[in-house]
Assembly symmetry: C3
Homo-oligomer: 202 residues x 3
């Protein structure tokens, strides 16, 4: 799952950079940032050297995603919105949320900390890629995306609280994340804005 | 003071996100980022796990600020510029500058490092919130805000140098920060730009 | 070399902030961010307290660069594109890449990690300054700049692999970085975009 996620995340990041007419260095950096910045932030928060700087295989997977984005951009206008990419991205979201929740638990943070680090691991890379592209992170105003990571990591915490083993909790986290994400994509879920709730009377 | 600051900072961040029509997840994240990103950056700089990830009470205060922003937005167009918010924000600025200066002193950095970490603790959250909103951090070109933290942390260093106890230095820091900030708000102080100084002759 | 680099980087960052009409606090912060954020990120990635927070001399050099930017802006429209600045900046790029590669090697990361940390040390400050100015980092779509750091750090890794001593490898890194940068500036090199390669047929 982690393998699929790294390739899919790098592909999505690079596709966005291609659309903004970044040069090949920029395309590579945005792709790698999307794939690795979430995990690197997770590692910084628990004060350890980012794993991506130590594992050549992971970087290879990221570069594969970057290459795929460039190759596919020749034939497809938006390889990052292709159904195969959306499913791979959902799998990556689940894998990254689960890894983050496990690392956070080992670091001994609070229940909120576990949800926060799981979510940051999953969506931090995408948020950082959007900042590099000079946009607001899309997760903050569009789509039902980061919420899936919050639900997944929340399910992980609850499973652990009711006595599930670590691997059961991890499985629950991955399933909840990927299922809510695929349902959200299928039915085009969105969170409301305050304006959308019709509450403002000024 | 720290309690008031967390609520006020989260309220200000969330109010900005509401104005940009972010969804409720984005509103929550920008509010929490404004309240906690400065302290988290401080903790990363002295290489320890961010306190906010370990303390459920602090997160509760942040979420209270987010809820207040949503509730108040129904009746007020700009709850973040209400006089009560401005005073609470000044108190938070002072509390965060003082905490940052104390943590930095314990970490054994230089006098410049103490001022830098005190200021980052106080204004880093607001700067990060503005980046999430795809703006330049307001502290860099507007208002007399970060300067108050610089003065407060500078007073802390001077107090320590002339032999004041830790708690006296902390008190001096808090008073200098909150007083300069309230005076700056009252008299609408601004720092000059190079253009404003009328120096450019090209 | 490091001395020249700190002054030149701070000068370039502050010049950009002056052009955006930031106030004097903002000008100072963007200049210091450009000079120190790359090294601070390097230190965070290998989990140590940033050196800049411990060394008053380095901060003094950064503030000298900020002052030079303000002074020169009175007589020059763009001190950051003056030939002397471009050469000093290239020297700084080489010094920072070399320092980053050495620190990364000591931290025991992979070959990719050495290139990544060398490059981040060299260009991370400029990228962060651009984010503060609410722009996409210029290194991602313009110019042949970060690539010089990648080549330099790559040469460092190769030199180490074929048995060169640490100081020889450092010398090779610095020479490769500064020479490729000066050649790139002279001949106005650019990396292609995917669009520029004429590959897109949609």
């Amino acid at each position: 799952m982690n393998t699929i996620g790294l390739v899919a995340f790098a592909l999505v990041g690079s596709s966005k950079a291609i659309r903004e007419e970044f040069d090949v260095f920029g395309i590579t950096i945005v792709g790698l940032a999307m794939a690795f910045a979430g995990g690197a932030t997770r590692d910084l928060l628990v004060t350890r050297v980012p794993l991506a700087l130590q594992s050549p295989i992971e970087i290879g997977l990221g570069l594969l995603g970057v290459s795929l984005a460039i190759a596919l951009s020749v034939v497809l206008p938006s390889p990052d919105t292709h159904p195969i990419t959306l499913v791979s991205d959902a799998i990556g979201l689940a894998a990254f949320t689960t890894t983050g929740a496990i690392v956070a638990t080992e670091a001994g943070v609070s229940a909120f900390g576990v949800v926060a680090i799981g979510t940051i691991n999953a969506v931090g890379g995408g948020a950082f890629a959007d900042i590099l592209l000079d946009k607001s992170p899309f997760i903050l105003f569009d789509d039902f995306y980061a919420s899936c990571a919050v639900f997944g990591a929340g399910a992980y915490v609850i499973a652990g609280t009711v006595g599930a083993s670590g691997s059961t909790a991890a499985g629950v986290c991955a399933v909840v994340t990927v299922v809510t994400r695929l349902v959200a994509v299928t039915y085009d879920w969105n969170l409301p804005t305050v304006q959308g709730l019709g509450l403002l009377n000024h």
